[in-house]
Amino acid sequence: AELKLSHQWSTSDVRHKIAEIVAEEVAAADVDLEIKIYPSKSLFKPREQYRPLSTGRLDMTVFPLSYAGGERPEYNLTLMPGLVKNHDHAARLNESAFMDEIEALMAEDDVMVLVHGYLAGGFGGKDRCITSPDDVQGMQTRAAGKAFEQMLAAAGASIASMASSEIYTAMQTGVLDAANTSSSSFVSYRLYEQISCYTPAGDVALWFMYQPMLMNKSTFEGLTPEQQAALRAGAAKAEAYYLEEAKKADAESARVFEENGAEIVQMSQEDFDAWRAIAKESSYKAFLESVPDGQRLLDLALAVE
């Protein structure tokens, strides 16, 4: 049999690597199963992938789950400011009752998780450093994700929406003063050439995004037990690798920025708490208004130590 796996990243990205690990393990298991990887949004556009995945048109994807927030508003909790503190906390969240609820929602759409994983991100300012909410006053900011737009707007930033590939030029010409995105995007778009001050994800970080490898559930269940076992084994190996690489990516991005002469600052616990207080009044509130069952889910997530 043959499975189609689609994702949006280049072949040098860690998220392509985990797809490759699973594909190679499955091929090595020799269970008559082949995974065809379609990288760099060559089959589906990033936000487009969840729907074909749930109808079985697409078999597998590596996918930021909050992209499907328009279909399932509950998924917005997987990109909520301050909900995840660091990578070990994220790993515990993956095993929690909160994640069980999210997976139950996916199951309703005939989708299941093969590989869990969170990636972190930070802030970059063209001329000024960003640690506390006061720093973003009046800055034209491009944020990754609706919840972050809401929080930054509440902190007094101006929100500009554009494709991530436009951030570099927009900063260069001065359209944009600041950006918030994943550590790997900061590096792959060479934003260190434009940013003078970088706030990487460290001991505490605001921006964590759940980006699992997903599979169509019926397709998985239609496979032979040997094929399923091979997929599971590959997925376990990929998940361990994913967590290691996710931790490395933050430090690596900080190193690249430092090498290129950018100032590196860290967010303190007080900064983090101040941001979360603002988020509670803005993005959390908006989330609770849009999801009837929201408070219970939020409490489940916050209960994870």
């Binding site: 060559s42 048109r57 554009m162 436009e166 030029t169």
Partner: protein, 442 residues
Amino acid sequence: MDPLTLGAFVAIATVLILVAGIPVAVGLLITASAFIAIFDGPGALEELPYKFFSQLDNFALLSIPMFVIMGAAIASTRAGADLYEALERWLTRVPGGLVISNLGACALFAAMSGSSPATCAAIGKMGIPEMRRRGFPDGVAAGSIAAGGTLGILIPPSVTMIVYGIATDTSIGRLFLAGVLPGLLLVGLFMVWSLYATWAAGQGGEALTRRIYSRAEKFEVLPRVLPFLAIILAVLFVLYGGVATPSETAAPGALLCVLFAVVIYRMYSFTAIWGVLRDSTRESVMILFIIGAAGVYSYMLSSLFITQEIAAWIGSLEIGRWWLMGVINLFLLVAGFFLPPVAVILMAAPILLPIVTTAGFDPYWFAVVLTINMEIGLISPPVGLNLYVINGIAPDISLRTILVGSVPYVLCMVLAIVILCAFPGLATWLPDLVMGPAIGGI
């Protein structure tokens, strides 16, 4: 069936359906649906509307109608004629000033329009009759404007560069800058040929005679062309001065050009303004429909793994990088004969760009080479939009004469590609100067 054989079948089916005379976009949809239905099952056809919608679901595509409006607004006025007239009066010392002026006007107009047919029509409406009246051969009069019009997609802004930027995730701002010097190179080559052809046709005597203008005559036309320069400068400021992103720039540009037509050329009537909008809508919808359909077609190619296998196959060819570039050019040229530029770019760029960059070529340089190939397609049969435009504005010049007159300009473009291969800096120097070195190869 292996993907390469399948690819050959797809190519044959596409050519057959297109030459039957069906709208290009519909032909692409039909080919795509047929192969999707056969190889992914008829159920997979439910993806068609999604792929069409998502291909168009891109803010940067907005700039296509905007840049078309810029051209159409100015083309609806006497501005094109004013432009070449001013150039001619100021270029009195240059022999053959009129054809030189017309080509110069094409280049200047191209700096305000993103599309080639608009450039062609704007300058040609007055330029072609005037050149013929002054004794230029029909072939030169028609060919120079047809070719000069193609500069619309090379000299920024450019609809095809935007589509290339979207298809390859390259910077539209850089792409625009990359087209400037090669555009000027082409204008120069066109001018040289036009003068030589006129002289060789034995019509040099009358056509190339210098006309002398008085100082008053020279200054009288200036106020009419200054607004042109003002618009170009304003758009450059918006684009590179931190006012807007490249994809947003087109909107203030379009508004400026409409205001320009209304204020300077007194286009007060609602009907006239509506006419501009109507013509722009027609051209934009035609282009955007092809883009949407090409999205469905590329999905079919990618889903059946044809794209990936062709790329791997070309990559595995044991040939030198310049032979590779030659093969790619030949492919683009042939594709350009049959398909409109945006369709070729959307289908070919994602396949070719990785190969081209792996072989050590610059993606912005390649965008320029690709665009010149597309320009050739615009003045060659069977789909040659500019030839059609010329036929429309000068119906008494036979299509044969237009075609034959265009051939030397095609050769000029081929020569330009050769020069670009020898001096890649022509494309990369300006973007590097203005925007710093390219980001990680892209």
